[in-house]
Symmetry: C2
Amino acid sequence: MATTQAAAVDRPPTIHDIAALCGVAASTVSRALSTPDRVNIRTRQRIEAAAAQLNYIPNSQAKALSSGRTGAVGVLVPDITNPFYFDLIRGTQLQLKAAGYTQLLVDTEESDEVEASTMEQLRKSADGIVVAASRLSDEALLAAAAKMPMVTVNRDVPGVPAVLIDTPSATTQALDHLISLGHTDIAYMAGPLTSQSSTRRWTALAEAAKERGVEVRALGPFAPKTQSGAVAADAAVHSGVTACIVFNDLIAIGMLQRLRERSIRVPEDMSIVGCDDIFGADFCNPPLSTMASPIEQAGRVAVSMLLAQLNPVAGGVTRSRSVMPTHLTVRGSTGPAPGMH
Amino acid sequence: MATTQAAAVDRPPTIHDIAALCGVAASTVSRALSTPDRVNIRTRQRIEAAAAQLNYIPNSQAKALSSGRTGAVGVLVPDITNPFYFDLIRGTQLQLKAAGYTQLLVDTEESDEVEASTMEQLRKSADGIVVAASRLSDEALLAAAAKMPMVTVNRDVPGVPAVLIDTPSATTQALDHLISLGHTDIAYMAGPLTSQSSTRRWTALAEAAKERGVEVRALGPFAPKTQSGAVAADAAVHSGVTACIVFNDLIAIGMLQRLRERSIRVPEDMSIVGCDDIFGADFCNPPLSTMASPIEQAGRVAVSMLLAQLNPVAGGVTRSRSVMPTHLTVRGSTGPAPGMH
DNA sequence: AAGGTATTGGCAACCGGTTGTCATTTCGCC
DNA sequence: GGCGAAATGACAACCGGTTGCCAATACCTT
């Protein structure tokens, strides 16, 4: 039989249901749940019990609307299918979840426009964003950071908190490694022009090369995909170098494949050093020598920095810059220069 | 000088700002933007111009709260670092973005509990969900599907719309391939017990083997990680089989590494067939023969089915099941059985 | 026991849209 | 020119929480 009094309807319970059940005002319920110490302990326990009984789950939309905080953090990556970002994403996801935040993951498709419009979109629906390998200009990034809390990964813009992966110094390790193997003709296979990581690596590498009196030439740019490896490999062979330090593992693995097709032996005829130590770098053929860094941790740190920015602790210092150590992992793709023993 | 009239404040514009600028009611603005044909064309154009001028972006929270529709879709995957899901995620993301939806990606950590609680959470903040390789029981899944629109991927539960990747039939292809190479001792390296995909593959494989009069034994279960490859490889060697059909490429690649360590040659001593054709399957050593399927497309189809469910079109038929074709891709990890030519 | 302070709980406005209702306008038609 | 129907726009309630403000209550002190 139909009844006018709201029975246990199927609609999810709200604070009003709890309030009615406990005989208090809705606002009291709200306070009991979000500002526990502003409510009588007994009342609070009654409310909590009722909430548990009703299987209450707060409506995040409503919460966001009224409080202005969404409890969500946007994570922007240029290419979601690039294995490099898997670990980063997992790091951010774990850290965000631990803090009770939701992750909004967006693939910006290597496009500065998509990146910018996404940021504008997220301005309303997220409390802050983590931007990996931004393709935006320094000015655009700085302007965006002024509008909403932001932490960048692998992008150094003064005034914007950042997690930097210290690949530049690793390129020096790679260079020394190659020099110690007798290589003197070395190329740097560059990434996209808009990638600051690529620029920073090249700068560091060129300087180190100069100090050591060897010559390193830059080739490229190459898109960060395995497919680009073919062009890159051909360019390297044509240039006559005996070793390559490659922008990232994706391209490096592509080069490995192409060199194999062309019957150019790695590392006997050509040594290859990648960067990132992505999934696959350890089981490609030959296994790739590469510059490895704690990517997942970088993701966690980025989130920590962002959350510290969102919820400032009295007396806490907010770091605005964090550098992740990087080291060279030598596997099978590097060996003595041709003609050396 | 201070002014009481709200000038161009920094706060993002709302429909009220637009309404004030146009001299109409806020509700008119709302209608003009969401139900364009219920408003005078001239008024609408004025409103649209004002919206553009103010750079108006609707507040998705408020929209969700009042309309009940969030414009977001949850995508649940068991392990975000499993390359198999990259393409799936990219597929869902592309299709969702094209339809103006937001993707909420969650890693359920291969846990049925995380999966269940995530669903409960998402019930409020998403309009529907895509669940890949669910670890939930049929009953739990059916119950969850009753509460919110859902499409599963690689999980067949009557009454729940699903995108199925036809790996079972591919196992038959793999079996025939191995038989044609002279193998008679074949093992199936099983995935997690809670994975229906694994069960379905085994069922299909066992039946096909029976028809063909060969014996196939099941080994495992093994966790879907490269690390499990070592145990799997050792188990395979110990069992004396000459070929393995493996639950997925992750385990298969791990096996390849282990067999190499143990100096067991692939494919001379042992043939390996993987499943999924993930990133890396083409450049591991040797390149992996595997069962490939259009994963990204599976993601797109799953989203299409979900959206069709959310926005039923008059006269449109809603497919509740879609099977993606799968075929065997032969590379270097399969060869003639030992002693055959 | 009375006065004071600290704590607690309720009211109501508000966040930014959506949507039902209804009065008004506009238009077409006879 | 006047009528009716359709189109249009304004009002206000509502979604589910948060929060400022104030009154009421409790507790403590002298």
